[in-house]
Symmetry: C2
Subunit: 469 residues, 2 copies
């Protein structure tokens, strides 16, 4: 694709659309603020946009897209910048389209258990708003306190509750989207069932800003589960922790959380947060298991069943969280593993995913590959979904080892995932960093279909160029 | 699109691929058998295929597709022929590709709660097979005793349990697909989460055989719910039945079935089945409500809550099904409404869907439109999903009234759906019969995107031509 550079005339045109206050360039904006628009949470990458635009209405987005389409200027949509695959990085420069001003919850429809939102709403703010009327929006990525719903849609983000409730994909009903030509469409209908032609809604979800700009979203909601039980289960053998996961499901129980944490993951995070946690020396891994529902007695019955399953494994003393504060602390530790790893070292996070019973084999394989290539990894993640986050620690690795030398072992890890029936990303997306590994997961025919679909939506290839494939 | 007629040379080539026993033509096959391949359950349509092929291996499907792609011969894949939108009708003649010999359950993976099947497996046979090992495949279209999983995938079929468990779309993990060129791909991975490029799996589901031929499917499964409670609730006012639906959900209860039946729907079906049912004269509609779960005490608590909600409405005596036989009878009545209507008259079935709280308005609108245009309808369906099947009875309508005169009122019904936030098909698909109404639900830009996607997968347009758009 050939792109054109930004002209002063175009910048003026953008100023006429969104007002000069929302057109930022290196020349006009405060340096630190401007620099931040070229970063996300992926390693330590930085790419400078030519201009940052902050529209607040769908008509503004449409007008911007028409201009960029006509002038072949790249457009990279940006949510909160918490992505871990480089999806929001403007690697071909051009326009960064920040959706931060699309921050309104437009409607909570209590009769239909639905809500209409703008894509710049923070996930947790949305969850809190619907909880106030007794409703529940389950997807809860670790970054829920700062990430945007639009970003969640772009990657089909998951989180701990996905094991029972599914990912963002399972809650979206309908999307308002601006196509690269500036046309504004709704992708579907506000209904629980939909069999009216190709499912454009599901095609948009996970398309990482390469097919259109999401400007409104209609989500379905559930009744809020009134009670939950949380337990932290220490294991003396990592592989047994991974095995116990499949056994709990096989016993007929679907937990609302089933998180795996290596010893170091939990140790680093509790240190980082200064939340004291006793870790006996023989403990190598933990499972954090949550049960939820409308009836507490029922949950205690289920908890007993879980204890029954765990009896067959070599576990330490199970911590049953007694208070809301204790529960919060445990979840905080789980959610901050990524931050604590980042605090300790630059790292690469691989978002491996396999059928859940294959997790012990994957974990063993990751460690064996690490030993062979001489790198350390901290592993944790959504064990109930078979979704293991492998954090490769930079530590003392040289630039050469870090930038080039890791390609082979990462390829081996992904090949193992595929061999086990899995794939190379469960919830972080492909973006920039997993793109070189796509051929491991997908045949050329699949990639060609994706390229063809991209061409249909975006004939000039201006939307988030250089991502996915 | 220009298609070519079948040549004797092509027929010989097909015989070499699948053996002569599985190449049926009007000349060689038994007349009645052959005729059946030109029909499905949609009204009384018939279109004759030039040839029926019954392959049994993916390599055979691939070889057939290569030939048809090269020679521009239309190919219409066919499951059990129970579709209600004409999706399996070969309206441009050519090849009917019957998937009836792809009838094996290849693997039930108890460790991962997954199963791999061929598309010609009957839905209920699959449900029974997984139930034997304590697992649950929820989607249950009314025709589950005869329809194929492949057909369910092509339409994203639902059924009563969709209200709690979702439709076919929510259970598919991965598909093996033969593209029109003969290339064989897997669309995704066998994982619960997937963020590895565009979701081709979800794009295939509901694409009605227009993008590729499904030859294998990997479904996720759940633990089988050990208990259920079923109640039949008679209402004196139809609109109240529809209102009560939203109220039950608002009370925090998600039933595993929430079916609406007009008086005539239930009366016709119980007559047809010769299952006696007392219907007091003042009863105009029923809700069939099912609750399911692993714990019977818990279900009784929920049932009490449902009774609490229903107290606010003018209901007759609630029938709580006592025995497995009584439950079977009630579900049989529900599932055979379509058959009983067909037994009484030719009919058109509209698969309207709206947000669930809009159901009373939709129902009122349908009846008003019927009065205005002089036709009778029998309405029933999945009220919990806002999915109302409107059966327009032919009765004494003339050919002209039936074939042309109904277009306007049907358009009005669909326009009402869209106005209420809904669409023109919830679970039956568009196929042939809803195609003229697509512009009511979708903008031209949406249809153009769909046409573009079709072109990417099937550049010669040979797969199920003339359907959807």
């Amino acid at each position: 694709m050939q792109f054109n550079a930004l002209t002063p005339a175009l910048v003026s045109a953008f100023e006429a659309i969104v007002s000069p206050a929302h057109v930022l360039t290196a020349a006009t904006a405060e340096a630190q603020q401007y620099e931040a628009y070229g970063r996300d949470h992926t390693e330590d990458f930085h790419f400078a946009p030519d201009v940052v635009l902050r529209p607040a209405a769908v008509e503004e987005v449409s007008a911007i897209m028409q201009l960029c389409h006509q002038h072949r200027v790249p457009v990279t949509a940006r949510g909160a910048g918490t992505g871990l695959s480089g999806g929001a990085l403007p690697i071909h420069n051009g326009v960064v389209l920040s959706m931060e001003r699309f921050n309104k919850i437009l409607k909570i429809d209590e009769r239909n258990l639905q809500a209409t939102v703008e894509p710049g709403v923070v996930t947790e703010a949305f969850q809190n708003a619907v909880k106030e009327v007794g409703l529940f929006y389950p997807p809860d990525p670790a970054s829920k306190g700062s990430c945007f719903l639009g970003g969640n849609l772009s990657q089909s983000s998951g989180g701990p509750k996905a094991v029972k409730y599914g990912t963002t994909r399972d809650y979206i009903l309908n999307l308002q989207v601006v196509l690269p030509t500036g046309e504004i469409i709704w992708t579907g209908a506000n209904t629980l069932k939909y069999a009216t032609g190709y499912n454009l809604t599901q095609l948009m979800v996970g398309s990482e800003g390469t097919l259109g700009i999401i400007t409104k979203a209609v989500f379905r909601l559930l009744p809020y589960p009134q009670h939950n039980i949380l337990m932290l289960v220490p294991f003396r053998q990592e592989a047994q922790a991974a095995e116990a996961v499949a056994a709990v499901f096989r016993a007929g129980i679907i937990p609302s959380g089933m998180e795996f944490m290596e010893r170091e993951a939990i140790a680093w995070s509790s240190d980082y947060l200064k939340i004291p946690l006793t870790l006996p020396e023989d403990i190598t891994a933990h499972l954090l298991i949550e049960l939820d529902g409308q009836d507490l007695d029922q949950l205690y019955k289920e908890a007993e069943q879980v204890y029954g399953v765990l009896e067959h494994y070599d576990v330490g003393e199970i911590l049953l969280a007694d208070t809301a504060g204790q529960k919060d602390d445990l979840w905080k530790i789980r959610r901050n593993i990524g931050n604590s790893v980042r605090y300790n070292s630059v790292y690469k996070e691989e978002d491996t995913v396999v059928p859940r019973a294959e997790l012990p084999t994957l974990l063993k394989g990751v460690k064996e590959i690490g030993r062979r290539y001489g790198f350390k990894s901290v592993c944790y993640g959504h064990a109930g979904d078979g979704n293991l986050h492998v954090n490769i620690i930079r530590g003392e690795l040289s630039d050469e080892q870090w930038n080039v030398g890791l390609r082979e072992p990462i390829s081996e890890i992904f090949a193992l995932c595929v061999q086990l029936g899995g794939t190379i990303s469960g919830e972080h997306g492909i973006g920039l960093v997993q793109k070189p590994y796509m051929h491991i997961a997908l045949q050329e025919a699949n990639l060609n279909l994706m390229r063809g679909i991209k061409q249909v939506f975006d004939p000039h290839g201006i939307l988030n160029p250089g991502k996915i494939f």
